[in-house]
Subunit: 244 residues, 2 copies
Amino acid sequence: MLPLTPVLVAVVCILIVWIFKPADRSLRRKKREPGAPPWVDEDLNDSTDLHQGQEDADERPESEEDVEHIPFSHTRYPEKEMAKRSQEFYELLNKRRSVRFISNEQVPMEVINNVIKAAGTAPSGAHTEPWTFVLVKDPDVKHKIREIIEKEEEINYMKRMGHRWVTDLKKLRTNWVKEYLDTAPVLILIFKQVHGFTPSGRKKVHYYNEISVSIACGILLAALQVTQTIVLKELALASFLNLQ
Amino acid sequence: MLPLTPVLVAVVCILIVWIFKPADRSLRRKKREPGAPPWVDEDLNDSTDLHQGQEDADERPESEEDVEHIPFSHTRYPEKEMAKRSQEFYELLNKRRSVRFISNEQVPMEVINNVIKAAGTAPSGAHTEPWTFVLVKDPDVKHKIREIIEKEEEINYMKRMGHRWVTDLKKLRTNWVKEYLDTAPVLILIFKQVHGFTPSGRKKVHYYNEISVSIACGILLAALQVTQTIVLKELALASFLNLQ
């Protein structure tokens, strides 16, 4: 098997989307109810792939043990405590900023593992957990990633966003140059898995994969803010989701 | 102006997607570089609307004060403390479960406001903050929402997921009946704004709106878990993103 480099993972994930997309679109159109309200298709309008007929077999959990059932325990706080905790959490998260200059200070791997484990607790469509987190520390790989991202980001600035926006952003000194991708000690790359495989090796569709992965990103951000590991915080998002 | 009921908001939001989508798709195809790697379009493959030419004017921030610049302050914890906090946060979030039977116990509005404010700290494409959170307490409106959702969910089970999956899920007693939408004292409905308006009243595209809103959902979930307000937790997600 090929080595799992971030770039390779990116290409593999995306190619799968690429192959499925056209069939998918036509299917989706075909499936729409004549009388259905307009938001029906929108509900499924992430890049989730849908299949019908025999392939349904591949989309179901293979057996019950695919579906984890863990007893639920819950201690409810007194109202005052709930209010206090919600207030403190808001104030902490409200301190988050999208920084563009990032320290090269090392972060303990234990912290990185914990925040990724926290992100992995996110709910996902049909519990498919359609995410892959890839850590990159190798300077050469980080630089290759930076080159790919800057190339795409330049297209964003030059075409997708429009010239007047570019002019405005110039004053603010944000552009497609992402030096911090070299500076940061670790990159967390987050990929969506548009499908997985059943034990029998057949494709198993991941519903709502983009939404599910983005929710995991939100939890990752919260975990990073809780631990104040600024050095990492914006990378996965600023780079791959192009967030400000 | 019409009253802002959740159902109406849903319809309004979605109609906007609906109107823009076709133009959008063709534009997106047109814009794709001949030599561009296949993931370029995928990066924009949420339901973000893209426009070119004169309309670029509408997509840029109207002026600098549209772009908030707040000085960044940061206290870095010692490594032991970072590790401890990341571990505790993971363990707390790992207790989250997708419950299907929800208490009708009231939750203080202060808590609800704080968790939504926390969600609102999420980063968003070009800082457009393309989310609308709607609280519903009125039993009749909750019930109407339940009817809409159950109708769509039934289609999920009957067509989108396939019969064999349905058979499996029956054992697990999950189905399209969402009684908890009536039971829960409050529903938080989360909508994506596919575009906003400039002060001059022109449309202003919200880039990556679905990804941005989903990230805010992840932070909302984290905030709810921190405050242990189980009664609310799964509603917005289970109902609108169909997560397990």
